[in-house]
Symmetry: C2
Amino acid sequence: MLTIIPVRGIPDIKKGDDLGRLLVTRLKEQGDTFQPGDITVVAQKIVSKAEGRVVSLSRIAPSDFAKTIASNVGKDPRQVEVILRETEKMVRMKGGHLITETKQGFICANAGVDQSNVGDRDSVTLLPQDSDASADRIRKTIHEITGRIVPVIVTDTFGRAWRMGHVNFAIGVSGMKPIHDYRGTKDMYRRTLKVTEMAVADELACAAELVMNKADRVPAAIIRGYKAPKGHGRAKDLLRPEEIDLFR
Amino acid sequence: MLTIIPVRGIPDIKKGDDLGRLLVTRLKEQGDTFQPGDITVVAQKIVSKAEGRVVSLSRIAPSDFAKTIASNVGKDPRQVEVILRETEKMVRMKGGHLITETKQGFICANAGVDQSNVGDRDSVTLLPQDSDASADRIRKTIHEITGRIVPVIVTDTFGRAWRMGHVNFAIGVSGMKPIHDYRGTKDMYRRTLKVTEMAVADELACAAELVMNKADRVPAAIIRGYKAPKGHGRAKDLLRPEEIDLFR
């Protein structure tokens, strides 16, 4: 059996806040503590805020290129300027959507630049500069305070090709491998499984999202009872190299 | 808090087996019963077997077209013949991969035709003909036996564009809406959320997969403590129409 515990009552996060410490405190205040094997899932939004990855649009002077794209897709030119600065490659631009590859290698809408849940209405958040490093920092703090070795996943909600709706995906991983490799194991008829590498960090991100909530203050969750694949993995392991990607 | 309970000890499924009844029995045998609000998640493999969606390759005579494609992608021509019969449109054929749109509208590898966990080594399973109807049948049986109204999700593991590894997705839904529509609700600063439609049926499928297991006999799970979006939805609601899809 697996349980997913929302971490409630996390206050408005400001630059410099120590998320690892905050998670330990909040979990304690709801009568719980980190258990061996717990996995901590943290939403990108609070990680970005704690790391100061917030940009005030009033300070952005859009380039002519940004203005052109903005008029094509019907967005604020200043926001497009910020998106372009976060973008490594443009993947698709159509129907009001900008799908880009971020400098970290994530393929998502608007390079992860987002306006929701930012206090200042003229500001946007950027993805963490290195979300694997963000996950590392949170994991280390939890370890220092509690003595527990707890894998950490930083997540963001992404759209998908072919399917409607967003789901939560892992954009930062620390303390586990994000992929469970079943190749070589036997199926129930003792036949070797050909596939399957399961992207368990993405599945854990999805599972946690079911108790997290955009509108309420639940930007983190603990998953208890899952045996994470051991090893030193990164969210980067989840990125399909362009040369073996059929859809770029 | 949300809990995910594996349903263990499900025997080898044969054509005509009553999965709804079997799930009720097995859950009872592990000292549990369906609770109000429980969501039942069932792997496609046992649904297909119960519905007789198993094909013996020895009875398949591949067409010349299937033989040509088979030699291109390095697959068994008989298996390619079966894949083609399940295919509405070919989406990509490259590097040994066949990505197709199934007659139901799912975009996945090999039209969902799969060799793993089939007793007869010369046989393959097909996806259910109508996996929403499959979910309906299981839900109705559970309701008849227990009196509980329990949403049902049928799942399969799919690859994704841009990301490594497979995840579990919903291919059949009954008794709930697969998408939670947040549009119009306020964020924590009382600003209206622009996005977000969350594909919660896919997230529930991912969550369940964490306790299911390809090699062991855990082809089903119960998710307890999640408020599924009410209404009459179908997995088809998760399919992005081609005209608004940027990646076909």
